[in-house]
């Protein structure tokens, strides 16, 4: 057992909120989106569309807040430390991330026995988290392109023409929802498969002691000095 310590500095309170809002908005959007795609029970279309149009703005505003906050809020520089730096620096590739892409991949595929050193996040983790930003924007673009009040604007209509019409745009939007669902499933799995401390921290802001690391990724303390 070598679980790193989970301190509040890893997820400052504002990010606990933005994460909650993301979760609620994505669940609401996926549910109402599925309903709009195929109304599997009666009497809900008006509400489903209202939900969809409300939460799409919630998700976009939340994304904007999250991006702005990353330049102003300080968060922990790596796992198992209370040392902080501006959040954006922990997002972009850090020194501890260098040369670690293949080891992480090998670890996930059981080709490497010991746990690779990671920075704030592992390489794959950073890539997939950052990928949610263009994914959200793509969902917004394809969604607005099939949303009556906006679809005739040339910015959206040009894209619709380019993909071959509104039906194709609808299907792309539908697949982006699936991409979110798959991302969420894999994310929830990987975050919790070695223990639920990450969930306790991000949802309830509860800390858990564990292994502590120094700036070089060396273990310097914590549970049993592993």
């Amino acid at each position: 057992m070598s679980h790193p310590a989970h301190y509040r500095e890893a997820h400052p309170l504002i990010f606990v909120f933005t994460h909650w809002i993301n979760l609620i908005a994505i669940v609401a959007l996926a549910f109402s989106g599925f309903y709009i795609h195929y109304p599997f029970f009666g009497g809900f279309m008006g509400v489903a569309r209202g939900m969809h149009f409300f939460f799409m703005y919630v998700l976009l505003i939340n994304l904007a807040v999250r991006i702005v906050a990353t330049f102003f809020v300080k968060s922990a520089t790596r796992l198992g430390t209370r040392e902080v730096d501006t959040d954006i620096k922990n997002w972009l590739p850090q020194k501890l991330n260098r040369h670690q892409f293949i080891p992480w991949l090998k670890y996930y595929l059981f080709l490497k026995k010991d746990h690779p050193i990671g920075a704030k996040y592992g390489v794959l983790q950073k890539i997939s988290y950052l990928f949610t930003i263009p994914l959200t924007l793509a969902a917004a673009y394809t969604g607005f392109s099939i949303y009556a009040p906006f679809m005739d604007a040339s910015f959206f209509a040009a894209g619709t023409d380019w993909v071959g019409g509104p039906m194709n745009m609808r299907i792309i939007h539908y697949y982006i929802m699936w991409a979110f669902i798959l991302f969420t499933a894999i994310h929830a799995y990987l975050a919790n498969v070695e223990g639920i401390a990450p969930s306790r921290l991000i949802f309830a802001w509860k800390e858990e002691e564990g292994v502590q690391f120094d700036a070089e990724g060396k273990i310097v303390g914590g549970a049993g000095h592993y």
Binding site: M45, H99, H115
Partner: protein, 388 residues
Amino acid sequence: MAHEDHDVIYDLLAARGVSRRDFLKYCGSIAALLGLSESFVPQIAAAVAAGAKLKPAVWLNGGACTGCTESIAQVDSPDVATIVLDLLSLDYIETLSMAQGEDALAAAEAVFEEPGYILIYEGSVMQGFDGNTLRIGGSTGIEELEHAAQNAAAIVAVGSCAVDGGFVRANPNPADATGVKPYLEKVGITTPVVNLPTCPVNPEWVVAIVVDVLLLGSLESGAILDKLDDWGRPKFIFGQTIHDNCPRRGHFENGHFVNEFGTEEEALGYCLYKVGCKGPQTYTNCPIVRWNRRASWCVESGAPCIGCGSLNWVDVGAPFLNRHRDLPLPSVGNTQPGVVAGVVAGATALGLGLHALGMKASGRMDGGAPYEDMKNYDRKRMKKGGGN
């Protein structure tokens, strides 16, 4: 205009059982369609009455089913639209022409020599086999189109086939069918094209465009081009979705749907969204203008819209009773997008399940494996003597 012209047209209309009142009402509906006020009705009536003398028109048939001709001609019950089109000096129309063979071709040739006529083109442009998929009077369909398009003042492409190939160009498109506008752009002919998709075309739109282009002078003034969208479709006809003007829209918002045909929901006139209605992505004013002399239209008569006014409408609309189109997957065949998503999601779930078993077996579930004390990369470098 001379008073006698009025008498001629009203005599003609009376002979076909159409009263003067019917005729003026019809001109009123054209005015409404063109976005003009009621005060334009006398002008339209006068223009129509004098129409025959203004510009000759030629109607060519490309690769299609002739349904658009049927839609307009409605031979068993001529209506005002038919008569108005009769008046438009249709000097040559392959399907309905009395003349045959050399005589008919000579009539067309006579028109083509004088620039300034209107060309109404029905059907797809079939380019396959060097154009030999369609031959008329000894030449290929594409030669005939190029010849006719050169001197035309404007081309009205009626029906989806003429717009972009329509159902003829649906996969696998062996005739290499395309529309008039894309074909002419390819061969460098710049005659303006007004596109009127749907399968078949609605006669009201043809009359509206002919009145606008031919009689109200919007071609000379250039105003017609301002009324077209990027695909050459008049915005006042193809500017809004069927869904937004649908009489069943209330049922859609209420969540009242027809789940299958032959049910009580269908009898109640509920929304046809779940049985594949393509109204939400089809831009035509069918719910407003309607069909068959404004008697009814597809959704009103109980059938989901199949999206025949969309570009490439068969490929993006089929299967017509499904919410989504099929995806033509290589070596799998036509597949619904939901099936693809389900397979990918199932594979992901299976993958995560197997991975979880692996995590369990390797004892990583309780905190993961022990951490490496340095990166593999650094260890290798140290072995090479590089130091850290």
